[in-house]
């Protein structure tokens, strides 16, 4: 029992430790280790923890060095048990301990029972420390190499004590303990510390990778946002392709519709020309079958369909899907022959395609909606109520007899009204122009309903210059007369007012008929278009609201944001 044999054993055990750690390192590069990088309370993770650390525990025993004719083994199962407990909790720790203990006991020797108990003890201590740290909220400490090393050191000391207490004859046990104490303390402590360090590194690298990936994905998403909404054409596609090319760093990026290349940025741009028809069989297949096609140039051969000298060696083709799952084009990522197509770029590519697809769809939907509203609006403009027109002419004919001046006024009003109706910009106008339109209209109506209608317009001077969507007030006033005041026998009164509430402009048209019918479509086509157009442009919190007190009053209130109006 000399110093020399202790030193030799130490070196040998450290060598075995190296083998042990190499296995640990190798495994840490696989997905197997991912659950170990988190202190998780979820059972699937705990079970993974149990299985892996049991395996390491058994490996620690097997890589051990038998001493004193196999009665004892200088070994390192402590690492598996302590770490199993430390990372998986008391239950996992004890389970690993029992598994490792049974294995050790089956190998026999005079130290067999003591060694088995040692392993269970180590698992339990690891688990208790786990619980203690979690309760104190010091989860980060679980992955401290120092703590793992120190804890293992402590459990080895206890282990040696148990060995001395349980193994007989005591003299032999003491001899063995003297021999293995230093090697086991050194190897286990260092092993546990390095093992945790490996886990820590692995965790950092996973986080860095996913952080880099998310950052890239978010960056691309932010940059391409809204570009294709304006239309899926060459110009917008080129902008998007350039962004993807710059952000992903792939060899080249192309975007096609169903027939031709819309954009091509990067290597090979000299012969992949935008505007030319698609020739690549992969792309045609992707379009026809709505499938992602990946030709890595290795297992799946890839050759540029245009030029044999093309430097591109692999390509990923992802269909862009529009309405009704119809393929409307593709996005293609290329890498040159000298580079390998990274998995990250593959995943990114598919994500980008999804993003672009939904954008194109959104854009189309939006444009169609706008077109619809525009055409409805045109219809509304052109549509002069024939009743109004002929009744007006009839009135003018009657007035002409007695009051030529009045007839002239009426004709002027009619001319202004018709001109505004026939030739109106579809965008914003000043509130004063809107008032001009309704003044002409009301000028006629006041004569027609002479004794039965009065109108009050109350618009503060400063608000006359705010901008409002054209053709907002007239339909509401037409409604107030047609469905309101013209339906009652007593005199009708209409009040038109405007006011500002914070950043909101409120326009109100109120009549004293109270005849509004709240059933759908009751407000008339004109009012619905006014409402939908405002909501479409400024959001659901704006638009037209109707309030009605039956037989007393009906009020139409238009809400428009001031910032959009000025």
């Amino acid at each position: 029992m000399d110093l020399h044999s202790i030193a030799t054993l130490t070196v040998l055990l450290l060598q075995q430790m190296c083998v042990y750690l190499v296995v640990a390192y190798a495994l840490s590069r696989t997905r197997l280790f991912i659950p170990l990088t988190r202190a998780s309370i979820r059972w699937p993770h705990r079970i993974a923890c149990y299985v892996i650390f049991s395996a390491f525990c058994i490996m620690g025993t097997m890589l051990g060095l038998p001493v004193v004719s196999g009665n004892a083994i200088a070994n390192t199962p402590a690492i598996g048990a302590v770490l199993g407990g430390l990372l998986g909790g008391p239950v996992v720790g004890v389970a690993v301990g029992i598994t490792g203990g049974i294995h050790r006991y089956s190998l026999g020797g005079s130290f067999g029972l003591a060694a088995a108990i040692d392993i269970v003890m180590q698992g339990l201590i690891g688990g208790l420390v786990h619980r203690y740290l979690i309760r104190r909220g010091k989860t980060r400490l679980l992955f401290s190499p120092l703590l793992a090393g120190g804890l293992t050191f402590l459990t080895i000391l206890i282990e040696l004590g148990i060995d001395l207490a349980l193994s007989r004859p005591f003299d032999e046990a003491l001899g063995i303990v003297k021999l293995i104490a230093l090697p086991e303390l050194l190897a286990n402590t260092a092993g546990a510390a390095v093992f945790v360090k490996i886990l820590l590194d692995r965790r950092d690298s996973i986080e860095q990778q996913s952080r880099a990936f998310s950052a890239k994905a978010l960056d691309i998403a932010a940059h391409v946002d809204g570009v294709l909404r304006e239309g899926f054409d060459q110009e917008n596609s080129t902008r998007v392709a350039r962004i993807i090319y710059e952000q992903t760093g792939v060899g080249a990026v192309a975007i096609t519709d169903r027939e031709k290349i819309l954009a091509f940025i990067g290597m090979g741009a000299d012969h992949h020309l935008p505007g030319t028809p698609i020739t690549s069989p992969q792309t045609l297949h992707a379009i026809n079958c709505n499938e992602v096609i990946f030709a890595d140039g290795n297992e799946v051969p890839y050759q540029c369909s245009i030029s044999p000298h093309c430097k591109l060696g692999s390509s990923l083709v992802i269909p862009l899907v529009g309405e009704g799952k119809q393929v409307i084009g593709t996005i293609k990522l290329y890498e040159p022959k000298t580079r390998i197509f990274s998995t990250i770029n593959r995943t990114l590519g598919e994500g980008i395609a999804k993003l672009l697809s939904s954008q194109i769809l959104d854009g189309r939907y939006e444009r169609q909606k706008n077109l619809l509203i525009q055409s409805e609006l045109k219809l509304l403009h052109a549509q002069v109520n024939p009743h109004f027109l002929f009744n007006t002419l009839n009135t003018i004919i009657a007035v002409t007899h007695d009051d030529v001046g009045k007839a002239r006024e009426l004709l002027t009003d009619l001319a202004v009204f018709l001109r505004k109706n026939l030739k109106r910009p579809t965008e914003d106008v000043m509130l004063s122009e809107e008032i001009e339109h309704i003044t002409a209209y009301l000028g006629i109506q006041l004569v027609r309903f002479a004794d039965r209608l009065s109108v009050e317009i109350d618009i503060p001077e400063p608000l006359l210059s705010v901008r409002v969507p054209a053709f907002t007030l007239q339909p509401l006033i037409e409604n107030a007369i047609k469905h309101g005041t013209s339906q009652i026998i007593s005199p009708g009164h209409i009040r038109i007012s405007a006011r500002q509430e914070g950043s909101v402009i409120l326009l109100e048209v109120e009549d004293n008929a109270g005849r509004y019918d709240p059933k759908p479509g009751g407000g008339g086509l004109g009012m619905n278009i006014v409402d939908r157009r405002i909501k479409n442009r400024h959001g659901e919190s704006f638009g037209v609201t109707m309030t009605c007190e039956a037989n007393v009053s009906t009020r139409a209130t238009v809400r428009i944001p001031l910032e959009a109006a000025s």
């Binding site: 024939p386 009743h387 027109l389 002929f390 009744n391 002419l393 009839n394 009135t395 004919i397 009657a398 007035v399 007899h401 004569v447 027609r448 309903f449 002479a450 004794d451 039965r452 013209s486 339906q487 009652i488 026998i489």
Partner: protein
Amino acid sequence: MITALIVDDEPFARQALRRTLEPAADIRILGECGNAIEALGRIHADKPDVVFLDIQMPQITGIEMLGMLDPDTMPHIVFLTAYDEYAVQAFEKNAFDYLLKPVTADRLEQTLRRLRNSLCRQDFSVLPEASRLRQIPCFSQQAVVFIKLDEVEYVESRTTGIYVSDLEGHERMTTLRLNILQQRTALLRCHRQYLVNIDLVHKLRYLESGLAEFVTRRGRAIPISRRLLPEIKERLGIM
């Protein structure tokens, strides 16, 4: 001499028509009305030969007003409209006389010629609004009061006239005859002298000698005639 009434809610429209009618020496304009309610009273009182009737008017349209007139004393009706494709089509098909505003002298002369030749009876039953009543006009000295059908509890015919009772128990006289009301409303004929609003009936009470009566929610008893009882029971699903 043909007596005429002009009914239009726009004063200048009335004036325009009056001027166009002036040259016709055999037309005497009895007056002008601005709405159907006034017009009903005027027609009732003055019995004009012809009514120039605007269709679009407040509260009660011209066509609705027709349903409130007694067919036996119905004046000849010439519709006035500025523009109404549907109505014009319906009128053309049934050869009703109608004038488009502004009215030209030639077109009006054509109408007057037809009027002079024959003041024949017009049948408006093809116009749905004219054959279904929404409300019953009741005449008092000063005004015409309209009672909505769902507010009518029952209608009773007495020797002094036809009386409409409403939910509050007010009784008002109408010039519409019981059989016209029976035809143009959902009121149920339960007796030679009574129409009842079946929606307001609380119970059917059997009396001695096989007779029965309705009791309304207000507790008013309405007699049911022996002759009509089986028919009413069948209609109400009482076996």
